[in-house]
Symmetry: C2
Subunit: 338 residues, 2 copies
Amino acid sequence: MPATTSIRDVARVAGVSVGTVSNVLNRPQEVSADSVSRVNRAIEQLGYVRNDAARQLRAGVSSTVGFVVLDGQNPFFGEVVRGAEDEASRHGIAILYGNTDEDAAREGMYLDLFAEQRVRGVLISPYGDITARLERLRERGIRSVLVDRINGDGRFSSVSVDSVAGGRMAVEHLIAVGRRRIAFVGGPFGMRQVVDRLAGARAAAEGSTERVDIEVVATGALTVEEGVRAGRRILERPRRDWPDALFAASDLLALGLLQSLIVDGALLVPDEIALIGFDDIAFAGAAAVPLSSLRQPSRAIGQTALRVLLEETADPDLIPRRTVFQPELVVRASTRGR
Amino acid sequence: MPATTSIRDVARVAGVSVGTVSNVLNRPQEVSADSVSRVNRAIEQLGYVRNDAARQLRAGVSSTVGFVVLDGQNPFFGEVVRGAEDEASRHGIAILYGNTDEDAAREGMYLDLFAEQRVRGVLISPYGDITARLERLRERGIRSVLVDRINGDGRFSSVSVDSVAGGRMAVEHLIAVGRRRIAFVGGPFGMRQVVDRLAGARAAAEGSTERVDIEVVATGALTVEEGVRAGRRILERPRRDWPDALFAASDLLALGLLQSLIVDGALLVPDEIALIGFDDIAFAGAAAVPLSSLRQPSRAIGQTALRVLLEETADPDLIPRRTVFQPELVVRASTRGR
DNA sequence: CGATTCATTTGATTCGTTTCAAATCGTTGG
DNA sequence: CCAACGATTTGAAACGAATCAAATGAATCG
């Protein structure tokens, strides 16, 4: 039986009341210097560690935040979590982490778990339609902030990136380096991000003084494997029908494309075909041909999401707000002009 | 003020006592079918959600496990966490996630946080020397399991991979595909894993009937950038002094090497130089030249670590034990014979 | 010197569960 | 018909920290 020392023991050793110990812990400025030091000495001596469950029960304030991520394997989300975690640690808050792998049941399970934990709030990059669930959480006093996705009717705060602008920037860049026959590789088109990036791409093509074609190569997901498959499909065509540039809706796709664009040990990228991705994950710069991409400020997204959440939990009357970051064009070898 | 409904409300609505409600929640088999259904109906009707803080306070059992990871950006650890999370969710346990980024202060902060939370246990891939800290946690009844690292004196359970065997397998494979001048790329040599992999490599060379040279190219870390740098250093040498194979101590290094091994748009890998990594992260297979590697069963590592932890917390008298997995050789294009 | 004020300190009460000894109820056996 | 038993149910007592009205003590003022 691990002899657990409580605030009571500390009080006894320090020769003060439990109320004073609690005050030293929570508002030392209202306690005499003498008491503070005696209590601290007692804490030290006993190796006392505050029991957060009791604190939370009585004070009604949790020191954890839940974060449900739909694709924990994607380095982009890894970075987002890192940003949130960084900010959280600054507030003495820990992150309850849940990965759903695009499984609605898991998503629900985590939200239930978080409700039992009475977390301070929830960050979520949602998979299924969970507005109803999040509403119910809110009725219980648990706010949520959507990450990398905006909610149609603005009932929840969100932190995301302007995908339309990103798509435009990508294609404008490809045009600037002299490409005219551009293929947009992405899918499924149920994903808002994919649709937006394509819309931006088309806008750039139409806005150009040159004649620029945008062809769509649809994929089933934003994964490396789908990228490889899409690349093979393109290479099957007669050489003169190849596009001279590919805009992939995500870096994972782009990495897959890159892998498929090797013929006889020689890379078609960037000379024959320019390639640009989206997200700027760490591996983009680390690819055999370093990948141009649109950087999402992933750390900042996580950090901001956590901040918004804390602000909202501090003042429940705040109305939800959207934060939209602008992506940033990062040019590397994969789109060098010929 | 979100009207929080308690077990008391449920009892009132169901027309039973709080004790019975608690029993329905925790040991329904000891309650009459009638009570069970009435209580469940009341729970449904009120939208009652158990308050885990109160439960933990009274029962003394937490439903969270802490996981401190030293490099959250490394996909390898991402997979390990995923494995642990998977197993945890099966037990209704959530994971408190902390990334230290090789920062001893952060590592300490998370352990403190976990202690306050009275987590069920701690999984940790340690950075600094934290045996003392973990001992203190244990005195408080919080057990720890080391992940991907073994503890010198066996005072803690650990789950890891046999790096010596992995190193041997890598070099045996390189020899089998006809390579004789092999460079081991890795560092720092303070890392147990690095030392072990090199030791395995040397053992393989010495065990061969052929004459095989193992040269060491030291790096400052197991990162992509260091890999690029190491690759450049090798290419600077006159061509006839190049090794004909590289064994990188991690896939991140190998990816960096791969990037540096492009000359005039043509890849030296695998024809001129074979390349093999370690870990088999998802991006290894997705590289421009799919990378051969030694697969660590990362999911299984996480899953096993969590299981060991739960077993130990269930029976505190269990003595620490080591679990060592064998790596598995995965052959891809980067080590194809010439 | 007593009254008043201000700064600290006190400790009983509370948060929502689990637990467990005691009470209740329906059966069964004598 | 009563005693004894097993199966359920009950409800008061924890768990450990936060809170806040009340008490204490020191300092100031008239």
